[in-house]
Subunit: 79 residues, 2 copies
Amino acid sequence: MKATVYVTIKENVLDPKGSAVQGALHSLGFDEVSKVRIGKYLELDLDTNDRAAAEIRIKEMCELLLANTVIEDYRYELA
Amino acid sequence: MKATVYVTIKENVLDPKGSAVQGALHSLGFDEVSKVRIGKYLELDLDTNDRAAAEIRIKEMCELLLANTVIEDYRYELA
């Protein structure tokens, strides 16, 4: 089973990387870019076919390691 | 208009970060994880309603800055 996890910085938290990329895009002439938010995108292969169990385990992985839940949000998709 | 860009390491390129996360997950007891690939997930707000132009510009942004096309692939969605 394949899990896709998206980890993004919470809306009210400053995103210095995003601001840096926005500045770089502006310096390259892409002035139409008004905001940039950067996050992590993870693809995990899981050796299981039990969807319910995978859902619980993915949440645990996110809470324990993949996301810093103080400043980050996460969501996932199972396929 | 909102653009979402996914930048991932090419399949045949080693992903040291992914391997490190996989090792960490195993040490936390998540042995069912057989592979981890880590990429970037970007959300960009564009001050334009011209979808065709936005499509061209996003490609340019990816080629010039957001992705290292030697070792990374990118795809995007416009909403």
